[in-house]
């Protein structure tokens, strides 16, 4: 689009012209044909944005982009969506390594360090960001801190998202586990929760609750953090065996006592909740639009306080500036302007269940009035991010390894002790792998 296709030398041309063609090729490549000086011509500044959102999130992003484009004709926003998870991260790393294919990308905050903050990811110029109204004071502090590496800001946080509890209001009412105002009763401790789940199970006839057993890390980390567990991912793996075993044993019991399916994968989990096989669901807040679209009567609240506070594992979607081969202040400025606009308009984004990171929106009446977001938004203040390491974070190796070994406690194919041992072996191997960043 913004690149003139080089013309192939016509057949039968002499050697010299071919060499000249080759040199022209090198010149073309070196001159960075992707960057155009739009300011000089007054043409809209292109903003090539990459993201990993499809489904409900994708639709909301498109809605926001349409508004952005309408309000800002001086920019030419060109979004591209790649497949969530490794395909996206791989493209991101390669594109940033190449240094000219995009201007701004979405990322999970937990991946910023692992994706090469300072090498593949350029710092965000704070003064430019401040010009567009985003400063440290306006962003949720925990996220801003995590986005800051060695004193430089590497990410602009858009939201917080975390594992929460969904409940089918009709089923829960019949089970008698609703408060007078129609919200789910708060439980404390394992027994309390199991009693509630049994009551719900009696109504559904199948299960009390459903959770993604192929993605057990999110639940595990929530429980482990409720116990106050820490994890050290350098040198020798630092993990509290007792707390880890307690957490794993909870996952084992909930499935083995028939309160939750022994096996339920990512697409199957919301489906089971939706069609009433289970009355409760532990899942990311991003399933909210799916349930709303299905026309369900449901509510949401934080991850149950099984071992203490109602803490839930989560992450944050952020905008980052990929490394550029050649500095382009204009493109960076345009990208920052776009990100700032997205933060300020994140009330639309919040409709997808995410909690805005931009405080003026998060504290606005528009947001606090949103239901069922209001029921769980407090939990976002204390979101439990993954432990720090280059291989941790959303869709990264730690999560993948954990998910693959922990599925066994749900379906009874391995004991918590065996699972913990396998997990420790896998994580130690990751720690021992020479870090690429």
């Amino acid at each position: 689009m913004n690149v003139d296709p080089p013309h192939p030398p016509p057949p039968g041309i002499g050697r010299r012209s071919l060499l000249a063609g080759g040199l022209a090729a090198a010149g073309l490549a070196l001159s960075g044909c992707g960057s155009t000086t739009a300011a000089a011509t007054g043409a809209p500044v292109p903003i090539r944005q990459w993201n990993l959102f499809t489904g409900g999130d994708g639709a909301r992003m498109v809605e926001m982009h349409e508004r952005f484009a309408a309000e800002h004709p001086e920019y030419d926003l060109r979004p591209t969506t790649y497949l969530w998870g490794n395909p996206y991260y791989t493209k991101f790393a390669m594109g940033a390594a190449g240094g000219r294919s995009f201007d701004i990308g979405t990322l999970h905050l937990s991946r910023v360090k692992g994706m090469g903050a300072g090498t593949l990811i350029d710092p965000v110029p704070r003064e430019v960001l401040a010009e567009f109204g985003i400063t440290e004071e306006t962003v949720r502090p925990a996220l801003w801190d995590k986005a800051t590496v060695d004193g430089e800001l590497y990410a602009i946080p858009l939201d917080t998202h975390l594992v929460v509890t969904y409940y089918n209001r009709e089923v829960c009412e019949q089970a008698g586990v609703l408060e007078p105002d129609g919200t789910l009763v708060r439980t404390t401790g394992v027994d309390d929760l199991f009693d509630l789940l049994s009551a719900v199970k009696d109504v559904t006839g199948q299960y009390g609750i459903v959770m993604d057993t192929t993605g057990a890390w999110r639940q595990f980390w929530s429980l482990y953090r409720q116990l106050g567990g820490e994890m050290e991912l350098e040198g020798e793996l630092g993990i509290d065996d007792d707390k880890a075993l307690q957490s794993l044993d909870f996952l084992r019991r909930v499935s083995q006592e028939g309160l939750a399916p022994e096996s339920s994968d990512a697409p199957g989990t919301p489906a089971r909740f939706q069609n009433g096989i289970a009355g409760l669901m532990l899942a990311g807040n991003w399933e909210l639009p799916t349930m709303q679209d299905a026309g369900m009567d449901f509510g949401m609240r934080p991850f149950p306080g099984v071992f203490g506070d109602e803490l839930g594992q989560g992450d944050s979607h952020v905008f980052v500036l990929p490394h550029r081969r050649e500095p382009d202040e204009e493109a960076v400025r345009a990208s920052v302007a776009y990100a700032a606009w997205m933060l300020k308009n994140s009330i639309v984004w919040a409709g997808g269940g995410h909690t805005p990171a931009y405080l003026p929106v998060a504290e606005s009446e528009d947001y606090t009035a949103l239901e069922p977001q209001a029921e769980y938004r407090a939990a976002a203040d204390d979101v439990q991010l993954d432990p720090d390491a280059w291989f941790s974070g959303s869709a990264a190796a730690l999560m993948a390894e954990a998910n693959s070994v922990m599925a066994g406690v749900h379906n009874g194919s391995s004991t918590p002790e065996e699972t913990l041992a396998a997990f420790k072996r896998a994580v130690q191997k990751l720690i021992d792998t020479p870090p690429p960043v």
Partner: protein
């Protein structure tokens, strides 16, 4: 000569007049400046885009080079030692070999069947060549999109056909036991057309008099196929098997696309090139993935050498 065209082609330069080298040396014995000049452009690209990365890759395999571009340091044989002990390397290599074993026999047999049928069929040659070969012309992404859709649980064509016959659904791409098989079936559909054309060309190189003579002897179609066609196709079959095995060992594209880059459940469909890709570009470890690249290179060379040896031995005894 009754040999299939492949034989004719290979021996052509030997039989057809004096050799080129002979003729030009007779004309000008001294060094001819035009020669190097004409070779130079290609040689430059060859050096730049083959020799350089080949050497750079070997060097990189002794370093901890990373995609994020921090300064690499020399790590000696660390990568190679890690590779020898890495179960995922051997797992992906096994997946690659399994895929080769799964695909090569049908890709040869179905191609031969198609070619023989086309040869015997009347008046539909154009249509047959079109339907058997056109899948080969599809970009791999198109093939993957179509087949992921066909394998789809619930509303895909294949499961629709299964449930229509009262059989249970199969989660073709979502089950560790069937994912590689499903990719193999897709591959046969996609690439068999190429082998088919090679066989077709070979069959058309067999003079019809050979068949007519056999018909006079009272040989039926099956006997004629067994006694005449197959032996005459030996050389083509050898070439097809050789090309096919090397092609199957290079599995990546459709396995990557049909599993959404995940390598399939339990990595059951991640071939060695997939592991190279994941290690280098997803896990950012260029050094380690260079070492695995060289292992793969060694496998390809070994298989080619083995085949070459078998091939030449067969030729000599034939």
């Amino acid at each position: 000569m009754t040999a299939p065209p492949t034989a004719g082609r290979a021996s052509r330069s030997d039989t057809n007049g004096p050799s080129a080298t002979g003729s030009s040396t007779r004309r000008a014995r001294r060094t001819d400046p035009a020669g190097p000049a004409l070779v130079l452009p290609f040689a430059l690209l060859f050096a730049l885009f083959l020799l350089w990365p080949l050497a750079a890759g070997l060097w990189t395999s002794f370093t901890d080079r990373s995609l994020v571009g921090t300064a690499p340091s020399f790590t000696g044989l660390d990568n190679w030692a890690e590779m020898a002990a890495d179960p995922m390397v051997w797992r992906s290599l096994w997946t690659t070999l399994l895929f080769t074993l799964l695909t090569t026999p049908p890709l040869v047999a179905v191609a031969l069947l198609m070619a023989v049928l086309t040869q015997r069929a009347v008046r539909v040659g154009w249509f047959l060549r079109f339907s058997f070969f056109s899948p080969f012309l599809l970009p791999v992404a198109v093939v993957s999109l179509i087949w992921v859709w066909i394998y789809q649980p619930g509303f895909g064509m294949l499961n629709g056909a299964l449930t229509g016959m009262g059989l249970p659904e199969v989660n073709w791409l979502g089950d560790e036991g069937t994912v590689l098989l499903s990719i193999a079936v897709t591959t046969v559909w996609w690439t068999v057309g190429f082998n088919y054309l090679l066989y077709l060309a070979a069959l058309q190189g067999i003079p019809s008099q050979v068949y007519e003579a056999a018909s006079l002897d009272g040989a039926g179609p099956w006997q004629r196929f067994r006694a005449i066609t197959l032996p005459l196709l030996n050389r083509t079959t050898a070439i097809v098997v050789l090309l096919q095995m090397v092609a199957s060992l290079k599995l990546f594209d459709q396995a990557y696309l049909m599993t959404n880059g995940s390598g399939g459940p339990g990595y059951a469909a991640r071939p060695i090139i997939g592991y190279i890709f994941d290690t280098g570009f997803t896990n950012l470890r260029i050094g380690y993935s260079s070492a695995i690249s060289y292992l793969f290179f060694a496998v390809i060379i070994a298989v080619s050498a083995l085949q070459f040896w078998l091939f030449t031995r067969k030729e000599n005894t034939a």
